[in-house]
Structures are given as C-alpha cells and as structure tokens.
C-alpha cells in the first residue's frame, strides 16, 4: 500500500515540481542520453585488467531522512564502461533509470521531476550488461519524511475565484446587442488522502458557484430553477485489508450483456476472500448526475441500478486458468439523459443475471471467454409518452437472453523468422447472439443480432496486423413481416514503426509510424417482407468501403502528421442503383517548438464529398495556425487563426468562415513570498468571427451575406490556496 502511494506521490509531485522549463528539458535530454552522454565522458577502461568492481554509495546517508522533492545522488566507485554497461535504478517498485543523469562518478536524480515516494522504501541499483542478468549492486534504504502516523497525509482545500465578462462591444456586426457584462465563478474544492499500514482513505470534491444563471451546472435541465451554487462531483475511496468501498461518482460491473462499467453517482463495495474470490456490490443512480439534490445518488427508487457480483479464480496455483463470475442487476430508469449525454430514451425497468467463464489450457495456447445473460425487461407507464389522456397499447414484459463466446488459439509464438525477427500469430473466433427485444439498463447492447467473427492477429517483427471477417444477421425470430438484414464486414488494420525496419537499435526519426486500416461492409436483405408496406426498393443492398492511412513523425523539436481517408457508398438495390456517395479527406499538421517558450503549429485539411446520382460535389478546405508564446514565467500569449472555405459544384453556394482568437494573460502573486498561492491571473481575450455566404443563381453570383462579430473579454482570477 505504501509503495502504491509512493507512485501516486510520484505522479502528483510532477505538477508542483516542474516549473522551470529549461531545466526540465535539459533533464529529459540528459535522461534520454544517459547511456550515451556518459560514454563520452568516461575514459576507456583497461580491458586487459578486467573491470573493477563497481560500488555504489548514497550521498544522502543511509539513515537520513530526506524531503520528497530533495535531489539525491548515487556515487559510483568508478566510471561506467558505456560500451557494455549501464545503471538501472529502481525506487520502490518504479524503474526511474531514464530520469537519472549520470556523470562519470555520480548518478543524480533531481526530484523536482518526480517527487520521491513518501515513507520508507528502498533504492535498488543494478548493473546492466548486454545478454547478462541484471546484477544487483546495492540496496539503499530511502526514508522520505512523512507526517506523523501516516505514510501519506495530504489535506488540501483549494479555492479559485474568477471574474470574467465581455467588455466590448455593445452592439455587434450581426446586429445583435450584447451589452458588456461580468460574471463571477467561484470554485471551491477539497482533496484529502490519508494512509497508514492498515488502510487508506481518499476524498475529492468539487463545487461550482456562478452569478450568471445560464452558466449554472443544471441550467440545461432546470432552467431558472437551477441552483447557482452546486455540487459538481465528489468521490470518497477507502480500503482496509481485503475490504474496499467508494461513495460518489463510481463505476460498477463487468458483465458484457448485463451490467458493464456503469458510471454514475452511488456507492460500491468489495471484499476479497482468500485471494481467490471477490464479492462486490454497487448501488448507483440511473444516469450520471451533478448537484445537491441526490447527494448519495440512490434516493430515487424509480431511477436506480443495483448490481452485485461474485468472482472466483478457482485454481490458486494457476491463476486465471479457471475463472468464473456471476452478476446480478435490478434497475429502473426514468426517461432522463445523463449529464453529458443526449439520447432518445424511455421509462424502463429490468432485472437479470449473468454468468461468465474464462479459462485456458495449460500452456495457454487455447483460451475461452464466454458468458450468458438473462434479462426480464418492461416499460412501465410513461406519462410523457401517454401525455395524460390517451390509452396506450401496453408493452408486454419479456424475458430474453444474450450469449457470447470468444475462443483464441495461439498458432505461432515467437517463432524465429530470422535471428532477430520473430513471428506471432493467433486466431480468435467470436460468437454473439442477442435475442430480439433483449435489453438491460446496465449495458449498451444491440438486440436481435447473431454475429460470428473470425479474427487473425499477428506480428512480424515490428509489424502488427489484425484482420477480421464478421457475418451478422437480424430478425432472429424470422417474423415474416419484418425486414431481415445480413451484414458482412471485412477489416484489416496494420501498424508499422517504419524506422524499426531499418535499424532497430538506433531508429531514425525521419521514418514515420504508419497506420493503415481498410473496412468493407456489405449489408443486404434477401427478401421483401410480406404483410408490410415494404417495396423492393425499400430493402437495402449496399456496399461501403473506407480506407485510412495515418503517418506520424517526431523529429526533434518538430512533429508532423498526415491522415488520408477515402470512402465509398455503393447502393445496389432496385431504384437506388445510382444513389452512390464518395468521400475524401486529407489532413496535414505540422508543429514545432523552436525554443522552450514558443510553440508553433499549422494544419491544412481538405474534405470532398461526391453525390454521383445528383452529380453534386462539395469541397471544404480549412487552414489553421496557432502561436503560443511564454516570454516570461508569468506572461503568456496564445493566438489561434483558422479559415474555412466551403463550396459546392455545380456552384450554388460559396461560404468562407474566419476565426481569430488572441489571449494575453499574466500571473501575479498577491504577497511577496515564494509560495505559489495566493496568486492570481489577469487576462484579455479578443475574438473575431466573420463569414461571407455567397449564393449563385444559375451561375450568377449574388451579393454575399456577410456577418462579422467580435468580442473583447477580460477577467481576473484569484487562487486562495
């Protein structure tokens, strides 16, 4: 547990420690060059005498306590022979070798990059030589100061107050009147983490207060009734031995067809039994929410999901070889969308159970992952659908099932093609059947489908390839009046770091990383349903193809990328033979950071669409550029520009859109102290958007309709803690 916190500290510490960009970059470069830079500084060793034993000592004293952000050094009794030696340093359970800078006789870790783990841990130093096992050189205790009684004890209240608003203009180019205004945002937050040898408790909470009603978190759902000071989210996680629990925004479930990673406000808990079984329960709100109204998330009986699961890893000596779990769900939902969701929803209710089995044969050449779920589903009376005065045909409750099985066979495993190139190949057969009208509130499942997929996954050296062919059909009850559709999908994906083809040991950055994918879908119906209003032309017969190529380069301070996509939709059914569509896109992006305080970027995109039936084409071109400047530690300027041209052929409209944004911001400290807070920031932002829409009537250009708006916003923010 302590070590885990150490890792968390490592991550959290980065944010506060990394403040000097130049130092940071120097450190990174030094770290990446660790094995190489030292070589240049190391005198050639006398091979005839044999290598002198290497002794490592700490420069901070074995029993001394150090601060989490204190640099530490390891003294080497002799320089490394970098032809065939390098140091590896593991602190706790994290290999930080790449972040050590090595001079001939000292390896130094600047803890301002990543904070040292709190509490008592150990540094283990290894000598690494090609083809040899790592040779342990030293174990050095590391004691990083903690607060009394806890390996970790962080209690962090935080508060940000922001005033921002529009200071000009009063009337805009499009005729709209938006008089200058100001709004205030108040963001208190609280974070706590406590840990000792028995367990941990972590808490995180965020709140938001605004003065403008339209910015209230629940304005979309509640309008003027939405509280201006509201709870955004919180999470309390605790663990003590084999027991763990969470309250707040949690997620629950691992049953594919029944309850799968449902994320919402609620309560979850789990008990680990003898390291072979786990019992877990979850009680969650029906959809993701914010606000004070339902603080635990489970107050509304009609909008709640209850889940439970028991997982057993049956053979302790061969973990993962026989694993099964049983899940249960009972839930009900009102017709409400989640906080970040829009959907066409209903009032729904269901309960069900799922069984899942995973196993593999000794040698692991054959693995099986299979599951079966059964769900009883109904639509309770929904007044928003009946709207009070009509009688609806009732929905009959149904109990339906879903099943899946994935079988994987490893055909080739690290088979040598040449001395350096290995080949791997495995094949997977996937089967899935979901009954018509199957539905569970805890999983997004497409009902009424039978699908079988054969998949090949392999690699030849650095080339990774995946190919699959899927066949699916719907209308599994074969109802004669309902259309039955068949879908065949073939796809290939490949990833290749081209550089590794030529030199695996020292890859050249000029070669890109290539990704290619091809997908072909044929969807068709065999018959026209009887006792329906279908005509032959209503039954689909369509072939579509999409082809993507992506190339990415990272060359020193430069980054570049190119993406290409072409698609084609070929309709073949009666009456639709000519209704074919094509699409094409090119995207090019280039970025560079010539100095630590400048970032430049530019991009160009072309999008073309072709309607073969109407002989119409559309073209969209976009150019974008950005300049980010940080001339001083506190001063920053960000500029973004984009222009988009849209035109169709034959020419009926021609539209240009420009978008410019310039933001200037400056940090300031409220008092003369070295503490980061209290601090503040002042900003000014200029934005301008303009568009010109020109219509063409029988190729005669009409007067363009122009629209131009600009705003000047400014604000001040204060960070109290």
């Amino acid at each position: 547990m302590c070590e885990r916190h150490g890792e968390t500290n490592l991550v959290q510490g980065v944010g506060t420690m990394l403040v000097t960009t130049i130092r940071r970059r120097a450190l990174l470069i030094a770290a990446m060059m660790l094995p190489f830079t030292s070589a240049a500084q190391t005198p050639a060793s006398d091979s005839s005498a044999g290598p002198e034993p290497l002794v490592i000592t700490a420069d901070f004293g074995n029993d001394a306590w150090v601060d989490g952000n204190q640099p530490i050094g390891l003294r080497l009794s002799r320089p490394l022979n970098l032809q065939n030696e390098r140091l590896a340093v593991i602190i706790g359970q994290t290999d930080l070798s790449a972040l050590f800078t090595v001079t001939p006789t000292v390896a130094r870790y600047a803890a301002n990059t990543l904070r040292l783990p709190s509490g008592e841990t150990e540094i283990v130093v290894y000598l690494v030589s090609p083809g040899q096992p790592w040779q342990e050189l030293a174990r050095i205790p590391l004691r990083v100061r903690t607060r009394a009684g806890f390996y970790k004890s962080d209690i962090k209240p935080a508060l940000t107050l922001t005033t921002s608003g529009q200071i000009a203009p009063y009337k805009n180019g499009d005729g709209t009147r938006r008089p200058p205004y100001a709004g205030v945002t108040f963001n208190p937050a609280f974070t706590t983490a406590l840990a000792n040898e028995n367990g941990t408790v972590e808490l995180q909470s965020n709140f938001l207060a605004v003065t403008k009603q339209a910015q209230a978190l629940r304005f979309g759902a509640q309008g003027s009734r939405a509280p201006k000071f509201d709870l955004s989210d919180y999470l309390i996680k605790g663990a003590n031995g084999p027991v763990s629990a969470s309250v707040g925004h949690v997620s629950f479930g691992n049953a594919k067809h029944l309850i799968n990673a449902v994320a919402s406000r609620g309560v979850t808990g789990a008990v680990n039994i003898a390291q072979i079984a786990e019992v877990a329960v979850g009680l969650l709100n029906g959809t993701s929410i914010v606000g004070w109204d339902n603080p635990i998330g489970v107050a509304n009986d009609n909008h709640r999901i209850i889940g439970a699961s028991v997982k057993v890893d049956a053979i302790k000596s061969r973990p993962g070889s026989v694993l099964f779990d049983v899940s249960y769900l009972n839930g009900e939902q009102l017709p409400q969308s989640g906080f970040n969701q829009g959907d066409i929803n209903d009032r729904e209710k269901n309960h069900g159970a799922a069984f899942h089995f995973a196993g593999k044969l000794p040698g692991d050449r054959l693995t099986l992952d299979a599951g079966y779920a059964i769900s009883h589903f109904e639509n309770p009376f929904d007044p928003t659908l009946a709207q009070g005065d009509i009688s609806l045909v009732p929905v009959r409750p149904e109990t339906k099932a879903a099943q899946f099985a994935d079988v994987t066979l490893a055909i080739l495993r690290n088979t040598s093609l040449t001395k350096e190139i290995k080949v791997n190949l495995s094949t997977t057969f996937r089967h899935e059947r979901v009954d018509p009208l199957y539905r569970s509130l805890g999983a997004t499942v497409q009902a009424n489908v039978l699908q079988n997929v054969i998949e090949l996954t392999g690699g030849i050296g650095p080339l990774a390839v995946q190919a699959s062919h899927a066949r699916a059909e719907d209308n599994l009850d074969d109802i004669p009046s309902v259309l039955k559709t068949f879908t065949h999908v073939t796809s290939v994906n490949a990833v290749l770091p081209v550089a590794s083809l030529f030199s695996a040991s020292k890859p050249s950055p000029w070669f890109p990383q290539l990704t290619w994918s091809l997908s072909e879908t044929h969807q068709f119906a065999n018959d026209v349903p009887e006792n329906s209003d279908f005509a032959e032309t209503h039954a689909p017969d369509q072939m579509s193809r999409a082809n993507n190529i992506d190339a990415q380069w990272a060359i020193g301070k430069w980054k570049a990328g190119y993406r290409y996509n072409i698609s084609n939709q070929d309709n073949r059914q009666l009456g639709r033979e000519k209704a074919d569509l094509g699409g094409l896109t090119h995207n090019v992006a280039l970025g560079v950071s010539p100095m630590s305080w400048i970032d430049l970027g530019t991009s160009y995109a072309f999008e073309g669409a072709n309607n073969h039936e109407l002989a119409q084409k559309n073209a969209t071109r976009r150019f974008g550029a950005n300049v980010d400047l940080r001339p001083t530690r506190n001063l920053g300027m960000s500029t973004v520009f984009s222009r988009t041209w849209m035109r169709d052929y034959p020419l009926t409209t021609d539209t240009d859109n420009d978008d410019v944004s310039v933001e200037l911001s400056n940090n300031f400290r409220l008092f003369r102290s070295s503490a980061e807070r209290p601090s503040g920031r002042v900003f000014f932002r200029y934005q301008r958007q303009s568009s010109a829409n020109t219509a063409f009537l029988e190729t005669i250009r009409q007067d363009p309709v122009k629209r131009r708006v600009w705003t000047l916003n400014s604000g001040v923010s204060l960070n109290a803690f």
């Binding site: 510490g13 990174l28 990446m32 290999d95 066409i344 329906s532 939709q569 969209t620 920053g636 900003f683």
Partner: protein
C-alpha cells in the same frame, strides 16, 4: 326568382368556402414513409407543406389508421396507439413557404410495441400521424407517415440517437489546474443508417455567452432557413469520417494540445455536427409545396448535442478513474503472447497524443498487484525490462502504458495486455 337566386348564391359561396378550406388544408408530407430501426430509437426529418392556416398540434404513433371524418385524412385507431411524441424530443418548427419541419424521434418502446404486434401477426408497419388544426375554422386534418420495421442500417435515415461526450476520465465535469494538459476526449455515438459524420469541435471560453439549446442541435435538425444561423464559437478542429451501417462509433476528440487550460474558469467543448448528404434522410420540400429542392438531413438528431464542461482552477479530478485510450497503443509483446520466463522482455508502444512527456509502463501480476513500473521519457517508445521481471510477475502478468504530461497527469492509457509465461527456454 329572387329567393332562388339568393339561395343559389348562398349555396355557391358555401361550396366555394368549403373548397377553399379544403384547398387551404391540402397538407402533404415528405418523405411519406421511412424504414425504422426495429431494435431501438429512430429519428427522421419530415417536411409538411401546404399548411395554409392550419397549425400543427400533436403527433402520435399507432398500429392502424381509421377515417378521421368529419376531419380530413386518416387518424390513429384509438385502440392501437403506441405513444405521442414526447415534448422533450419535439424540435419541430414552422418553416419555408407554409411549411412545417418535423423531427420525428421514435422512442424504443414504440417500436417495441410495433414489434410485439407484428410478432402476434399484425402488419409490421406502423404510422406517425400529425394532427393539424385551423384555429379560425376549427377544421382538422391528419397526415400520416408510414414506418417500416427494418434493421437499423442501410436504407434507414442517417440519424444520431444516443450521444455521450466524455473525457477519458470517469467524472461528469473535469477539474484541472491551470496549465495542465487535458486528457483525451471522445464522443460515443449510436446511430442509424450510414453516411459521413462531419462537423467541428468548438470551445466556449469563460466569460462568453453560453449556447442555447437550439444552438446545440445538429445542423440537419434545423429547417433550411435556420441553417447557418446557429451561434459559432472558436473552432478547435474539424472531423469528417464515414460511418458504416453498423450502429456504433467513437469519434475522437480534437487534439488536446489545442484545448486551452491556461486561464481559470469554466469551459464548454461543443460537438457541432453539420448536415451531410444521405438519400434516406432527404426531404423533398418542393414536392410538398414548402419551397424548392431537397433538404439534406443526414445526421439529424432529436436532442441537443451535450456540451462537455471542464473547469480550470482549484478543483481536481485526480481520484477519478482514467478510461482506456486509443492514442496509446501497445505494440509488443502482443496480447496473450507467450514469453519464455528467461527470455529478454521488451515493451514497445505507439507514442500518440500531444503534449505527452513521459510514459509509465506498468506490470501487474494475476492478482492485480503492482510488480513493476517504469518511467520512460517520450521519444524512446521502448522499455527493456529487468531480467528478473517475469520470474517475479508469475504466470499470467499483464501490462499497459500510461501517458503522462509534463506535469505528471495521466493523459491517456492503453488497455491491459495479458502475457503468458512459459517454461524457461534452453540456453
């Protein structure tokens, strides 16, 4: 004679008035029929034309039609009503020349009712019936659209029926410190039909006026004359992807290096979807007398696109779980690869994602306990593991790569990859 003439004229005026009333109310609709998804929701763009003095009232779905006499048209048989268009999905507007743009969003429970009726032997098609009323005369007309039960793929109008926009962090609102890089974001989209999904990612800065619900509708949901009038915000990037007729897609978000995080305050990331060309979603407004030509309505949706909020300031979302990302992809060893316990082990991955400064390779044993982690700076793409790692990790370890920004925050992470450790190979 005079009285006959008066009677004749009165009758004539009445007949003309009735005919005029009828002519005033010759309401037509296009399309007159659509294929709908049997197994879920469906949305379609409809244009009613020739409204004259009639105004739309409510809309119902039902299994059978009966004569609406004395009103004009066919109305729903009251014994077979499946539901009324819920107010929350009603995005309809009067538009064009005496026209009316209706967005028909069919909840899954309505098609469930239709399916159960078809299962029992009834005709599979059902109807969407819009009632129109002339407020001055009290006359009513009913206009029906046929809905045919099909799969949700080709020949069904290209429409969005479920859209969730999320950062790759399990939290409704993301809180970050000034200057931190945001995690990847994406939109999970359930759709019907097939077509090009194109549009823009935009951002609302602190202090800017927030968009209205109408601003957040997809362009294809709007009547022709309203298109291009939605408020625009600063553009983060464009997208244009082809969606095959398979119903689900995860749209990657914009380059996170372009998402601002310097200035404190609340930001909104907007998903702006432009109308695309899809024959099934076309509505011929000329054929119903509501204008000229055809309205393309590919990517219609019956609800506003959800804005994604994040707050730069004091708050933190560090405790929230990070979900798997597609930008960091493990390359080797392959998933489920068998590795001899004494073989040299090298992890490699793709270095996608902007502003990623470090990668953390994590290895866990079968029980989920951490065995080893390693921090590797960007640009390396490879980690050579200690020779003792496999021995320590047991028979079924798993590994993943976590991308960290310069401030150490998780930007994205890959899925866990399983390894199978076999007996030591002979040296």
């Amino acid at each position: 004679m005079r009285s006959e003439s008066v009677i004749f004229r009165a009758v004539s005026v009445t007949i003309i008035a009735i005919c005029a009333g009828r002519a005033d109310g010759q309401i037509k609709v296009n399309p007159t029929g659509v294929n709908v998804n049997t197994n879920g929701a469906t949305t379609a763009f409809l244009t009613f034309g020739g409204l004259g003095s009639f105004r739309p009232v409510e809309a119902e779905w039902c299994g059978e039609l009966v004569s609406a006499a004395p009103a004009a048209g066919l109305k729903c048989d009251p014994a077979t009503v499946f539901g009324r268009l819920p107010v929350r999905f009603d995005q309809s507007r009067l538009s064009g020349t005496s026209g009316f743009t209706d967005i028909m969003s069919i909840p899954p429970s309505v098609t469930r009712r239709a399916y159960q009726a078809a299962e029992a032997g009834a005709k599979s098609s059902f109807f969407y019936v819009r009632r129109f009323r002339n407020a001055s005369t009290g006359q009513e007309q009913y206009v029906a659209v046929t809905c045919r039960l099909a799969g949700g793929g080709a020949r069904v109008p290209f429409s969005l029926v479920d859209v969730s926009v999320k950062f790759n962090v399990e939290t409704p609102i993301l809180f970050i410190k000034p200057g931190e890089t945001l995690p990847q974001l994406s939109a999970r989209i359930s759709y019907n039909g097939t077509g090009r999904l194109k549009g823009r990612w935009e951002i609302v800065y602190p202090g800017e006026e927030v968009p209205s619900e109408r601003d957040l509708l997809t362009e294809a949901t709007l009547p022709l004359e309203e298109r291009g009038t939605q408020r625009r915000y600063a553009e983060l990037g464009r997208f244009n992807v082809f969606l095959p007729p398979t119903g689900e897609y995860v749209l990657p978000g914009p380059d996170v290096s372009r998402i601002p995080s310097t200035t404190e305050g609340m930001y909104l990331v907007l998903l702006r979807i432009e109308a695309s060309d899809d024959k099934e979603a076309d509505s011929n407004i000329g054929s119903v007398g509501a204008g000229t030509g055809v309205v393309h309505a590919g990517a219609v949706a019956g609800f506003p696109m959800p804005p994604l909020r994040y707050v730069v300031g004091a708050g933190s979302s560090e405790l929230a779980e990070t979900t798997a990302s597609t930008q960091v992809r493990p390359l080797s060893p392959l998933a489920d690869a068998a590795i001899a316990s004494n073989a040299p082990l090298e992890f490699s991955w793709t270095e996608g994602g902007a502003r990623v400064a470090f990668f953390r390779v994590e290895v866990r044993n079968h029980s989920g306990e951490d065995v080893l982690a390693a921090i590797v700076p960007r640009g390396t793409g490879i980690y050579r593991a200690p020779t003792w790692l496999l021995e320590k990790a047991g028979s079924s370890p798993r590994w993943r790569v976590v991308a960290l920004d310069l401030l150490g925050r998780e930007v994205s992470k890959s899925d866990w990859q399983k390894l199978s450790i076999t007996a030591a190979a002979p040296q």
